[in-house]
Symmetry: C2
Subunit: 445 residues, 2 copies
């Protein structure tokens, strides 16, 4: 087999066999295919697309480019959740303990924030002492003991994805639904899970701006999971405004604790989405007989404090200070706060999530380049969200900051992110639809 | 400017500006753009195409990536010819001396054979002592003294093309008409010419199998030349059977001498095409007032021996033995010959040029890889061409060979290349059409 023939084949819209794709990934992993050839193939795949069979073969080849965890020693269903990323998207910290407290094993391997979107690892690391760098033996031991662990990418799971992603990042081949699907699914399935719930976001703060794109990516991922004998469901969720009220690492941990504590400050949208995602995990894991039963179960696990206890267990197991659950002031706090008043009266029509995400980044809460350090304390707390009535001069949000210069830069972004007008906007659904199998999908909106 | 933005732009079918394309080629030439990014751009350009303005900008940038010859000290019009390559395509050896003997300066920089197609340099080097490795000062001095020189690629003309071609060759991005056009035109215009005649071949022995593809490439090259203020004409010519009767380096030199000598062995198709191409060179060079006048002029330059005298001058100037013109047996000769008889009677319907070219390659006359050495003596002499009546057992061609093993391999190819049947086939035109400007084209067929 010669790789140039596979480049030409894809270029000319022919379908590659599973053997050819497997060979390609093995050769690339062994440095027998140079980057300059792989990038040509990636661009051809970007522009010509991949068939469902090609996509499954690519996902499988990437998945098997490294170690695949064997969690068969654990009797409980292994289920994870993955989000395509958004602003204020902190559900992992709520979902993982809730699902585990219901009896699901949650082997969650997450990423860091980049650009305007945050990352689960950065949020967890704002908890004093918390370590996300568990090796695989410690990771599996923790899954056996408390049923859940939240760690960062390891070198030995899906290493081909890591190399391919780095190449895609510099060759304009990131934004391909097929390549995104293969990347996500290969990494997630390497966790040794039985089922996966996907939170596919769309809107101003998401990677995908349009629901159609989110829906087609969801279909790709669900179908690819199906071809690989995994139960997969995808929720299409609105990211046209930030999720919850807090944006910024420690601020978001605090908000998650509020949800698990049933605090009156816990935002309704964050509760709604966390409950729905966890319920789907229980349903796919076979823990609950129906979605309604699963949702009831999740709400009761929040109400009786089971979720918060499991969160405390996770923090303790991973070296963090569990006292943050009782006293969130133990989380890093910014030196200064400033409220941003509305310049006009009316209803909040829209909050540009990407601008809010960039504002948090500018404050120091995110990273522009992978090497950047993040400030865990800074961020924003929104006091008004879409649909809220606001009077001129009333606070829209509070900025938590450590540098005046950064504040100035963030203010302009925040002010331009809020669109205020009359009359009240038509409410948007948070959960727009659900994609379950290639056969039957359920759309609410 | 970031190159990834230019990759994305091309990927998304947007037009790059001349500044962007110029920057790209300068950065790539300076090793500031890695191959893995350039190959992604090339694949995007392959699949999305280039606009006429982009193509002219790319050609210009590649042309100016190195030295552009300044032949303004020579008063005569500078005109060259380029062929897209074929089997038995030896016209350069006839055209260059003929055009020069008419007063055109011919600064001809040619290539070597690769695969089933031959190369002008290999043919010239079969003349004992002939050197194609003149440096630029010697090249221009010879143009001043005898008006013509035939040399190989130099490192300092269009170096970006050399690098890009090597990358395209391994990334499945060779067969793009736009990229082919930029490659050919940048190299040719670096010769400092005023006008260019293109021989764009189609058929079984050509790079392009279909006349439509040849026509569109011809249009691209003519338009690109026009945008760069050069007079360009392209002849669309049939390569569905080999040109002339001889295939193989020394055999082809001998056939060219036959044409220039008005030998009765000189094949009609080779004469017709050589006269037409040279006439177009005289017309575009302003030497002749009309194509008919130019053709008359060329025929008289053959008849009065001017062309042969100029060919002798070239050989002498470039260190070769001019006595080959009087005594072609001084050219390398194979140790053995074998005639191939027809297995059936009828008319020759078709001769698969690619198979004949590969047969010559297999005999040792061509190269599979750039590093291979060629045997100047071996090859084929066809005694029957398309339309000829042939009786079973009559000779179709004679193989000139130096190795029995290679002969055996070649025989199967040659036998399967000839299609013999009744009735007589409909004659195909050799010159199918002419493309002159984007405004007006003239098609004969």
């Amino acid at each position: 087999m010669r790789f140039i023939d596979l480049i030409r084949k894809k270029r000319d819209s022919h379908e590659l066999s599973a053997d050819e794709i497997g060979w390609m990934i093995r050769q690339y992993s062994a440095d027998a295919i140079p980057d300059y050839q792989m990038s040509a193939w990636l661009m051809a795949a970007f522009l010509r697309g991949l068939s469902p069979a090609e996509l499954a073969a690519l996902t499988s080849a990437m998945l098997h480019s490294g170690r695949v965890l064997d969690l068969s020693a654990l009797a409980a269903p292994k289920v994870d959740k993955h989000s395509t990323g958004g602003v204020g998207d902190k559900t992992s910290l709520i979902i993982a303990p809730l699902a585990a407290s219901a009896g699901v094993v949650v082997p969650m391997i997450s990423g860091r924030g980049l650009g305007h979107t945050g990352g689960t690892l950065d949020k967890l690391e704002s908890i004093p002492g918390f370590s996300v760098n568990l090796d695989i033996p410690r990771f599996t031991a923790q899954l056996a003991s408390i049923g859940v662990a939240l760690i960062g990418q390891t070198e030995d799971l899906a290493p081909a994805d890591k190399r391919l992603y780095a190449l895609r990042d510099v060759t304009g081949t990131v934004e391909s639904q097929s390549l995104i699907c293969a990347s996500i699914m290969s990494k997630k399935l390497a966790e040794g899970i039985d089922a996966l719930v996907l939170d596919v976001k769309f809107g101003s703060g998401a990677f995908m701006k349009r629901v159609e794109d989110a829906r087609s990516l969801a279909h790709l991922m669900v179908e690819t999971g199906e071809r690989m004998n995994k139960r997969v469901a995808a929720l299409l969720t609105d990211m046209d405004q930030p999720l919850g009220n807090c944006i910024g690492n420690a601020l978001e941990v605090r908000e998650c604790i509020d949800v698990l504590k049933t605090s009156k400050d816990a935002p309704a949208d964050l509760i709604e989405l966390s409950v729905a995602l966890t319920a789907w995990m229980l349903l796919l894991g076979g823990i609950s007989p129906s979605l309604a039963a699963a949702e009831d179960r999740v709400r009761s696990l929040i109400a009786d404090g089971s979720g918060l206890r499991k969160f405390r267990d996770i923090i303790t197991a991973q070296g963090g200070d569990p006292r943050v659950c009782d006293d969130p002031s133990r989380l890093p706090q910014a030196r200064h706060t400033q409220t941003i008043p509305a310049l006009t009266s009316g209803y909040v029509q829209h909050i540009d999530s990407e601008k809010i995400g960039v504002a948090s980044l500018v404050l120091g809460g995110g990273r522009e380049k992978k090497e950047d350090a993040v400030d865990p304390a800074v961020g924003l707390v929104l006091s008004k969200k879409v649909g809220d009535r606001v009077a001129s001069g009333e606070a829209l949000c509070t900025v938590h900051y450590n540098s005046d210069a950064r504040l100035t830069e963030a203010l302009a972004l925040i002010e331009s992110a809020y669109a205020i007008a009359s009359p009240a906007p038509i409410a948007r659904k948070l959960i727009h639809g659900i994609v379950q199998t290639s056969g039957g999908s359920k759309f609410n909106g």
